[in-house]
Amino acid sequence: MKTKLNIFRIALVLFAIVYMLLVLFYIIATFTGGHTVPREVIRASFLGNHLAINFYSYFMLDVIKDGLMIYALIVLLKVTDQFIKERYFTPKIINLMRIAGLLFIGVAFLGILISIFYHTTFSEHVIESLLLPGMIHFMTLIIGLGLLVIEETYHKGFIIKTENDLTI
């Protein structure tokens, strides 16, 4: 159990660090005229057909989404730390699980909206471009909902444990 938890923790830390570095690189690349800025607006969005307004609105939302994702990973890391301390059914874990689940769901919905906004504005082939991001966000949504279901189960486990501890 401890070994698996430690491996999971290391993987999670690596994942969070790499994600943070990539987001940082993405921000720097965008502000220094990197390749992420599209050349033209293919279709006018609800914000009009100004390239900079459309792109930077997308960019800001994307950075917010990435920030939420990093926060979700940190919350999962906190859950792992509680597991390492052999605290399995505590109100704190239930709370953290709920936060992580909600964050993953938020990231998924925001991701879907951002992808639709980006590809309907900047991509020539909307449906083809939306397929892969759509699948990834769908998987994130499933992970979020899974965490919420597990949180409910943990709540049950917590009740059983409290009852158990109170029994002489």
């Binding site: 698996k4 790499v18 499933i142 486990g157 059983i160 158990n164 029994t167």
Partner: protein
């Protein structure tokens, strides 16, 4: 419980829309790539047309890729089956613990095999020596696999607590 219904519906949707057709297509392709070896170039991105690699190597990689895909689908099938226990309000059932453990190690196998096969296929077919340290889907799968294994252990603890509780008068 509403969350569980939404989750189950989503998993069912993915299962019906993508997994069932994928199983059929994979099995069809498993046979077809031996009839028409050039078809592998169209399906697998890593195996290019320009390569002078013999057909049997390409077919071997094709089989491995299909195997990895089928194992991933099997993981979703087990997850779907496990959700039924949650619906029946039996979250600490032995099958749930075993299924979580099984999903965990299968996902780790898929993640690791995917990383190795992608690396070798790039080296063989594209003559590229490329190691990705960033966010790859395989790395995410390994993380997810470890998470499922941890969950199975925690559920085991909960099961013992529940059994103790049920035995107490």
């Amino acid at each position: 419980m509403r969350k569980l219904i939404i989750l189950k519906s989503l998993v069912d949707f993915i299962w019906i829309v993508s997994c069932i057709p994928l199983i059929g297509l994979s099995l069809f392709f498993l046979v077809y790539m031996f009839i028409n070896p050039n078809s592998i170039d169209l399906v697998f991105e890593g195996i290019t047309k320009d390569s002078e690699t013999p057909n049997y190597t390409k077919q071997l990689f094709g089989i491995v890729y299909i195997g990895i895909g089928l194992i991933s689908i099997y993981c979703l099938f087990i997850f779907r089956k496990t959700l039924r226990y949650f619906q029946q309000v039996k979250p600490f059932h032995t099958n749930v613990i075993n299924n979580f453990y099984k999903i965990g190690y299968l996902l780790i196998i898929v993640g690791t095999a995917g990383t190795v096969v992608t690396f070798i296929s790039r080296l063989l077919f594209k003559e590229e020596f490329k190691i990705s340290f960033g966010l790859t889907p395989h790395f995410i799968l390994i993380c997810l696999g470890l998470f499922f294994m941890v969950l199975s252990e925690v559920f085991k603890v909960a099961k013992y607590a529940k059994e103790e509780n049920d035995l107490t008068i």
